[in-house]
């Protein structure tokens, strides 16, 4: 064995090894580049790039296996983030709808400066088929009282009939035997809008007690007259849907479609106070 380490070849390669250790190290120490090292690195760097791309591709694929826990964790975090963002989007959409809804009342508030309104949400509807009652989420706790008018930006919904601490019940205009003083906006003829059992399901009212010579026409807007102290004057009740002349009395039988759409009510405004003397 000893003769192998005493051979000329071994001495030569040892010297070369020492040179290959010392020279590049010294070059590095003085901040210079060893030419041979530069050549080797320069020659192999393009190939190294190809291997690096391969490594990247492999890493991407292998990540499914060796980064599984990390990916699961990341996935859960992303799920939470998505849920949070969805909530934000939902809140934002709801807020947007609320703004759009409230914007409808701006015109009403501009015309009726004496109105004080309280927003309420429709939480329930009468389950039976014989009445059209709505339940709101505000009650006496929010100073809601019986007979307060309930409106939407389109028109009158009805009036508060019962009040609990945190709820109240609304009797809609179409409810049988409900009555509201009304007038035809175009002609000024006054009458009374009444709910009837036959028409309630279709959201219709009957306009009665119009003068015999009334020139009421289809499409005329019917407004509240303010008589009766429940509803203020000038609120929209609805639009004339049909006019029929009674052959016996020669009086007009007028059907009015309610301005408020009862089938799609989710939010309403309660008029907590208003001035009856204002025309």
């Amino acid at each position: 064995m000893k003769q192998f380490f005493r051979s000329k070849f071994f001495y030569i390669v040892t010297v070369i090894a020492l040179i290959l250790c010392i020279v590049p190290t010294v070059f590095h120490a003085i901040g210079a580049t060893f030419l041979l090292e530069d050549a080797v690195a320069g020659l192999l760097t393009p190939m190294q790039k190809i291997f690096s791309y391969t490594a990247e591709a492999m890493d991407g694929f292998a990540a499914y296996f060796y980064k599984f826990d990390e990916l699961v964790e990341e996935n859960n975090a992303l799920r939470e983030q998505v849920a949070e963002l969805q909530t934000q989007i939902y809140d934002s959409t709801e807020r947007e709808e609320m703004y759009a809804w409230m914007a409808g009342f701006l015109e009403m508030k501009r015309v009726h400066t004496d109105f004080n309104m309280l927003a309420a949400t429709v939480t329930g509807r009468e389950s039976g088929n014989y009445s059209k009652l709505l339940t709101l989420d505000v009650g006496s706790g929010a100073d809601v009282e019986a007979n307060m008018p309930v409106v939407t930006s389109e028109g009158i919904v009805g009036r508060i009939r019962e009040v609990g601490h945190s709820w109240s019940r609304v009797e809609t205009l179409v409810e049988t035997d409900s009555a509201i003083g009304a007038y035809v906006e175009r002609t000024g003829d006054t009458g009374v809008c009444r709910g009837s059992f036959e028409l309630a399901a279709d959201g219709l009212l009957r306009l009665e007690y119009l003068p015999a010579d009334s020139d009421v026409r289809e499409g005329d807007r019917i407004l509240s007259s303010g008589n009766g102290s429940v509803y203020p004057r000038g609120l929209i009740i609805g639009y004339v849907q049909s006019v029929e002349i009674n052959p016996y009395t020669r009086g007009a039988s007028v059907t009015v479609r309610c301005a408020a759409d009862y089938s799609d009510l989710s939010r309403v405004m309660i008029l907590t106070s208003f001035d009856l003397s204002v025309e």
């Binding site: 390669v13 090894a17 290959l20 590049p24 190290t25």
Partner: protein, 211 residues
Amino acid sequence: MKQKTGAFDKGAGISEREIDLVKTKGESLGKRIRMGIDGEKILKAVVAASLLIFFALLQTTIFARFRPFGAVPDLMLPLVIAVAMTEREKFGAIFGLFAAFVIEALGGATVFVLPLLYMPAGYICGILAVHYFRDTFLVRALFTAAACAAHIFFTLFVLLSTVGGIGFGPALTKAAFPEFLSSLVFSPLPHLAAYMALKLFHRPREEKVSE
């Protein structure tokens, strides 16, 4: 004889004994000899260089990225051992020098020490494999483990001398030992590649000893 073999005359460095071997070893060896001894050496060097480049790139890209067991395995050292065990000590030593220089240059080392490890590793393993041990899986594993263990000292030396503020313990547990483990686990890869690639040039042990 010379007339029959054509280009394989004394000028091409071929001996009478080798030409006799061509006759007795069959076609595969015949193919080898037909390229001439110099041609064979060149081809062998090209194959070895290809292996060297491939594993150097593998080590500095893919394994450097994945870092199995928390460290980049040294694939060049098992490759040097594998080549040396097949091609004897001189080829092993020279191959070790090249391998060390390439991996240091490619890896961006600032202190070059690996030539002092790879060259003796190639030289010693070549001698041991040819003159003292048979080329078996166990012997290869033992040589590789011993060389990787020697590598621990080199890693510690480089770390402690170049990286400031690192203690012996962390250097051993965070770098040297994981590197040893990683190198050992992945060492069959270069061994197998070298065995397959240099199979064409294999010669029986008796022949290697007699040279």
